[in-house]
């Protein structure tokens, strides 16, 4: 095994090693401090952890594709909130009064279409104007949040549908509904990125846009599809979460973009595009959720979570760079 592939293996395995470290650390620290009766690695606790990872996780998986493509999307949090409002509000529209429980799939479809439409707007602007995705989605983050507030002011939008709540709280083979959605998205996106032309082109565009253009890849449509995809996933995340909670505040989803990007970077996806993996992002999402739960478990309080995650993000960036320098240096010799 040469050095380069070893470095790659270290980087791929790093996130899972980190998760293992967290599990051991919090279990040992927890039992040493004996703050809690139950063990940290309790099965129910872990299943719940997966369920709680779902909302950010689904968005982070979409962000992985966007970042592999060499773009970024800061508007996902606002898209998430707007899709949630559309879903909950549409269930009360008089048009659908006679639908009974059939209103559920209708409202889901409306919410998902909202997400796709918002993503398409971003994608179209990035494609046609050539303005950097960072600026386009930064603007959209303000604009879409404005739409959220214009929809229902500062009031929360609420509607509880018990059939829906039962569905969202159900467990199938031990896993919660939200977890199944998360896993389905992982499977679907893994297939998309590793087994389809679109996925291969997305990597190629992120790696070297000019080369991709010269190779005859139509860069614009691919980017637009990816933005529609992340819009869809942000809406799906909202559908999964708000089916259970039934009430959305206009501020919901704020800072989601930051959490999602953190998870993606922890998973080893490059900011500059061209490299990254769907499964590693899942690792990043789980690592963050473990950290949140673990710090609470050893009694560190929620305020330290932000501090620790911020510093870990910077440390990962530093380590990643050191590894890259090392790999490059050895290649030269």
């Amino acid at each position: 095994m040469n050095n380069e592939s070893r470095t790659r293996l270290i980087k791929k395995g790093a996130i899972w090693g980190f998760i293992l470290f967290e599990l051991v650390f919090f279990s040992v620290a927890g039992s040493y401090l004996s703050l809690s009766e139950s063990a940290f690695m309790d099965l129910d606790n872990m299943l719940l952890l997966l369920k709680q990872s779902a909302p950010i996780g689904i968005i982070a998986l979409g962000m992985t594709i966007i970042m592999i493509n060499g773009n970024i999307d800061l508007s996902v949090g606002a898209t998430y909130a707007l899709a949630a409002i559309v879903m909950l509000d549409s269930m009360t529209w008089p048009v659908f009064a006679g639908f009974g429980d059939w209103v559920i799939p209708v409202s889901w479809i409306l919410a998902l279409m909202t997400g796709v439409a918002l993503g398409a707007v971003n994608g179209l602007i990035v494609w046609k104007t050539g303005v950097d995705a960072f600026i386009v989605t930064l603007g959209a983050m303000l604009g879409y949040r404005g739409l959220v507030f214009m929809y229902n002011g500062e009031e929360p939008t609420s509607h509880l549908n018990w059939t829906l709540v039962d569905f969202a709280e159900a467990q199938f083979l031990g896993l919660h509904t939200a977890t199944w959605f998360l896993l389905a998205v992982v499977g679907g996106l893994w297939f998309l990125m590793n087994r389809t032309v679109h996925g291969r082109n997305a990597y190629a565009i992120g790696d070297n846009r000019e080369a991709a253009v010269n190779a005859g890849i139509r860069v614009g449509p691919h980017m637009m599809i990816n933005f529609m995809l992340i819009g869809f996933l942000a809406a799906l995340s909202a559908v999964v979460f708000y089916s259970e909670s039934g009430s959305v505040n206009p501020n919901d989803g704020e800072l989601f973009e930051l959490w999602a990007i953190t998870a993606v970077v922890l998973g080893g996806t490059k900011l500059t595009g061209g490299a990254g993996s769907i499964v590693s992002t899942l690792g990043g999402v789980i690592a963050i959720q473990l950290l949140r739960k673990g710090l609470g478990y050893i009694g560190a309080g929620t305020e330290t979570v932000n501090l620790v995650i911020g510093l870990i993000l910077i440390a990962v960036l530093f380590l990643d760079r050191q590894l890259n320098i090392k790999a490059k240096g050895e290649l030269k010799v």
Binding site: W127, G130, T304
Partner: protein, 325 residues
């Protein structure tokens, strides 16, 4: 294919000064719609409420011109505000203010070290610091709101609430800082180095400019501006939540971009940033005066930011639509 835009014709002028022209049209429109819009007290009110955002935008302008980003200014501003309010009652305002500045500058130095000397990606570093500083603030305050005990008996309110020569102090601070930093950026060797580093980092390094030191200093300047903004904010309200600056980083960035600074670095001026800040402020105010919902400004800001950057790019490449297939 170069039709439409060239520097000599009207299209070129429109693209180059598009923001200023759009701003003037906006102002005329709002004035026709509501005669109170240009009344002195309204103008003063807008500038005054833009001062905090403006002070932060001055520092971020340096960072952006040097080719980096600073997403941590919002949570750093919360930190300064909370710290100065807490220390006010513990060691008195005269000591609390320098202590707060020192602590905020330490944070800026840390970021400057990571981005400048360790050459880490500024987007991720400041994203991490956004989260980390928020955590730091919550740990410091224990999650509680911070209030000054004796709100009537302190001279601390002078920075946010009083006026001198008929002008509110926040505007004076903003104006003074803008003048000084504008001079630094336009007239000093350091200012030229900032442009050089952001314009072409490799070329700058080869011509003997120490990139790391310049970037480090930009983040220090940004932290200084944030501390000043925190001081105004604390003094204005004399009490604060832990999240007072949340989301400001993006509004600040929006103002800087609106002013025409390129995110790739190397371009932008203090004057343009001030125009960007004022556009945001006046649009917000104007939309309210013509009776639109407060939140409509977000949607308008979105459209304006994208149009502004689009026009800028279109002028440079000589065609409206991107050539990407």
């Amino acid at each position: 294919m170069a039709g439409g835009f060239s520097r000599s014709n009207i299209g070129g002028l429109l693209a180059k000064q598009g923001i200023l022209i759009a701003f003037v049209i906006f102002m005329i429109g709002f004035t026709i719609a509501n005669e109170r819009f240009l009344a002195p007290e309204n103008v003063m009110g807008v500038v005054r409420s833009s001062a905090i955002l403006g002070v932060m935008a001055l520092g971020v302008t340096f960072v952006v011109i040097s080719g980096n980003l600073d997403l941590s200014v919002g949570s750093m501003m919360s930190f300064s505000t909370i710290v100065v309010l807490d220390l006010h009652d513990k060691i008195g305002p005269a000591l609390a203010i320098p202590a707060m500045f020192a602590m905020t500058l330490c944070l800026g130095a840390f970021i400057g070290f990571l981005v400048g000397y360790l050459k880490l990606n500024s987007l991720i570093v400041t994203l991490g610091m956004l989260s980390a500083i928020h955590g730091l603030t919550l740990t410091y305050s224990g999650g509680k709101n911070m209030d000054i005990a004796d709100k009537d008996g302190t001279w601390f309110a002078v920075f946010g609430q009083s006026s001198a020569l008929g002008i509110p102090v926040p505007i004076l601070i903003f104006g003074l800082l803008a003048a000084v930093l504008g001079m630094v950026l336009a007239k000093t060797p350091f200012g030229r180095k900032v442009y050089a580093v952001g314009g072409n980092g490799v070329a700058a390094t080869f011509s003997g400019i120490r990139r790391a030191r310049v970037v480090f200093t930009c983040y220090l300047l940004s932290a200084f501006c944030v501390a000043t903004a925190g001081l105004i904010q604390a003094s204005r309200s004399l009490g604060s939540q832990n999240t007072v600056g949340q989301g400001l980083e993006l509004e600040v960035l929006a103002a800087v971009i609106l002013g025409g600074a390129s995110l790739l670095g190397g371009s932008g001026t203090i004057f343009k940033t001030i125009v960007g800040v004022l556009i945001l402020g006046f649009i917000q105010n104007g939309l309210l005066l013509v009776g639109l919902q407060f939140y409509a400004q977000y949607v308008v800001t979105w459209v304006i930011i994208i149009l502004a950057v689009w026009l800028d790019i279109a002028a440079k490449r000589g065609r409206l639509l991107s050539p990407i297939a």
